[in-house]
Each structure stands twice: as structure tokens, then as C-alpha cells.
Amino acid sequence: MSLNKVHSTPEAALAGFLHDDMTIMSGGFGVCGIPAALIDVILDSGVRGLTLISNNPGADGHGLGKLFKNRQVRKLICSYAGDNALFAQQFMAGEVEVEFNPQGTLAERIRAGGAGIPAFYTRTGAGTVIAEGKPTAEFDGHPHVLERGLRADLALVHAWMGDTEGNLLYRMTARNFNPPMATAAEVTVAEVETLVPVGSFDPDHIVTPGIFVDRLVAVGAINKHIEQRTVRPRPLAAEA
């Protein structure tokens, strides 16, 4: 691993890391906070048979949705897939395997994977199909389900700002799954909108410490997609 974590292009940041049949975690909620530039590198690389771990399969033509369109995905581990029609077709046709998780179970499995916790008990999903085939145990009078920690070969994250040490800051709800995923893979590559020198951040404000980031690349202000544009009318000028 190069001592210099900063790479000049998304292609260079992922060079040597991509191969067929690998498991990739990708941050984001819907298409908010997705590592869009790094996903495009996977698309262009043509690697196939991928297992993706992500809350959602992107949207049609956006984010991970591009990898489904290009038939590079064998399996998706997610919590919700309702907003991508093309993905739905592939799923119904049996072309993509899907493992649905409760969203909190998915987040905690990733957190646990990154923290060296191989399994944990949770009340979530007890008595439902989620518990089928899994060990269960009663604690404090309630049934709990044993869930496994989750790790990947590669984690892709999107951050608002990063420094050359790999310390990351996020912006609003674009944070979502990115910080836990950064901890839970053999290799983590971060795309940041703005790259700054070490020492630029107040250390008290850093969300992802650089130990979790192997490589990073600045991608600038990218054109971000909004899935549900909802607004309210402005008050009349006289009232304002």
C-alpha cells in the first residue's frame, strides 16, 4: 500500500482492486451520498459476478443501478429495493439474487463486521421470515435473532471533505451508511468533493478517522440526482 493515499483519478484510486466475483459495499441511501464516480469506474472495468452490499440498488440510470443495467451483479444484500424498476425486472426474472435485511440489522451487521464482532443478537425480525434458519435465544423475556457481522473485499464511500490523511467529514443526510461501511472492508476507497491538507480539520469534528481509508480521490462538486423533489410554496412577499 502506497504511503500516499491520495490518487488523481477515480480509476487510479481503484487500480488493482477490482476483480470478478468480489463483494463490494457501497454507501448511500437511495442515491443520496452514493460514491457515484467510483461506481462509474466499476461500470467501465466490466468486472462481473459482483455481490453488492448497499441499502438500495440505486435508481434506474443512477449509481448502482448502472451496474444492474450492465448485468455485472450476481447478488444484492440490501434493505429496500422498491425504487428501481429495472432492478425489479431482473429480480423477478431470477437474474439477480437478493437478500433483504431490516435496515437497522443491515447497518448493525456492517458496524459489527468493522468492529470485529462476528455475530450479535437483536429483537428485530424475531417471529418473522427474517428469523427463519437463524439461531434464536430469549433475553429479558423477549425472543432475539442471531445476525452475522458483515464484511466486504472493498468498501466505496462518498464524503463531503477529506484530508490527505484520509480523515473524512460528511454533509447532512449524505452521511448514512458511509461511515460504518468505511470500517468493514479489506480495502476502503473514498471519493471526496473537496480534498484539503492535513491539519485543516478540527480533530474533534472528524467523523471517519483516516485509519479506515486506504485511498481517496477528489471528485469535485458533482451533479447529484434527487429522487423525490418536494417543495412548499413561498410565503407572499408582504408576509415575509
Binding site: T122, M172, T230
Partner: protein
């Protein structure tokens, strides 16, 4: 006359208490945010990583980095905080959220909830519903009493479950049920709605303690 969606949301808002942290589901529950009594401090959680959800933005002020769990653009408040998905569900699963108001496909007499999939239809996924019902202190279902003639309040759910014995109260366009240890208790009727009408539109026996 049945309650309108707005009236249902207003009835659900009577369950809010000063200082509550609350998670609202998609659909009619979302309307509850507009019914907080003046002077009451309630913080709404969005499980994608935000406490203190503000209203929709003015046109032209939408920000792709600021969305709710329904992926709609929203705004922040002075009290807002942001956090990652694992922390967000730590709040939910750790019992720190006092109240969740959710929609349902079916609710059973003992408070089982089914709200995520219908056999034969495309499974969209689970999202945060199973975590919410497992971890939030009090769960209220807010829904139409029946859907296209189908009875939704049943003896036993036939649809895949979201959680077992998790619902505390059911508010519909026709009435309010408490879910008690012995089953459902009818506590309120919408104006002009009779107990007989409720009986004909409910798939399980219930006790009546109107107040």
C-alpha cells in the same frame, strides 16, 4: 361520517407528548408532523440519519444531500443533528424513540403487524419497519379501516409479519382501538359511525369501552 386523512392525523397527534422523539412512517403518518400542538416540543427522526426534521424546502432551495426516509427533499431546524445509519438504528433499537406512527397492511387482535410484503407481488423490501416495531417504546398504527373492501384488522395476520405483539393502538378513519392483553378494545368512534359498522368491518371480536 368517517374521519378525513387530516382528521386522522390530528387524532394521532393527540398521542404526542412534550419532549417526545418520534418516527413517522410514509403515507398518512407523515401528515402528523403538521398537527403538533403549538408550544409542544417534538423532534421527528428520519431513520436515514437525522433528528429534527424540518418542512419541505422552498422551490429552488432543494438540496440533494438533505432527504427524509421517503427520499423527499426536506430542511433542517436549529435543533437538527445528523448521524450515520448504525447510530440512527441504535436510537431506534435502543428504545430512545418514544413513539412510532406507522401504516399497515394488516394488524391482528394481539398487535401483530404486517406492513412490508404481499405474496405474489414484487417484494420491495423491509426498510426500517422491523427495527422500529422491535425497538420503539410505543407503536401506533394509523391507516384506513378497510382497503378496497378487504378487512385489515384481523384475528391473525395472513401476510408476512413485520413484528409480533408490537402494536399498542390502532387509529383508523372509523375508530380507535387499544390493543390490550385480552385483545382489542374499541375506545372511540368517528362521528356518526356505529359499533355495528365497526363489527362488520373488523375481522376479530373486540371489547368496547367508549370514552
Amino acid at each position: 361520517m368517517p374521519w378525513t386523512r387530516q382528521e386522522m392525523a390530528a387524532r394521532a397527534a393527540e398521542e404526542l407528548r412534550d419532549g417526545f422523539y418520534v418516527n413517522l412512517g410514509i403515507g398518512i403518518p407523515t401528515l402528523v408532523a403538521n398537527c403538533v400542538p403549538p408550544g409542544m416540543r417534538v423532534q421527528f427522526q428520519s431513520e436515514n440519519g437525522m433528528l429534527g426534521m424540518g418542512p419541505f424546502p422552498y422551490e429552488g432551495e432543494e438540496d440533494a444531500d438533505l432527504i427524509n426516509a421517503g427520499k423527499q427533499t426536506i430542511t433542517s431546524l436549529p435543533s437538527t443533528s445528523y448521524f450515520d445509519s448504525a447510530s440512527s438504528f441504535g436510537m431506534i433499537r435502543g428504545g430512545h424513540i418514544q413513539l412510532a406512527i406507522l401504516g399497515a397492511l394488516q394488524v391482528s387482535a394481539r398487535g401483530d403487524l404486517a406492513n412490508w410484503s404481499v405474496p405474489g407481488k414484487m417484494i420491495k423490501g423491509i426498510g426500517g419497519a422491523m427495527d422500529l416495531v422491535a425497538g420503539v417504546r410505543r407503536v401506533i398504527v394509523l391507516m384506513e379501516h378497510i382497503s378496497k373492501g378487504e378487512i385489515k384488522i384481523v384475528e391473525q395476520c395472513s401476510l408476512p409479519l413485520t413484528g409480533v405483539e408490537v402494536v399498542n393502538k390502532i387509529i383508523t378513519d372509523l375508530c380507535v382501538f387499544e390493543v390490550g392483553p385480552g385483545g382489542l378494545v374499541l375506545t372511540e368512534l368517528a362521528p356518526g359511525v356505529t359499533e355495528d359498522e365497526i363489527r362488520s368491518k373488523t375481522g376479530t371480536p373486540f371489547a368496547t369501552q367508549l370514552h
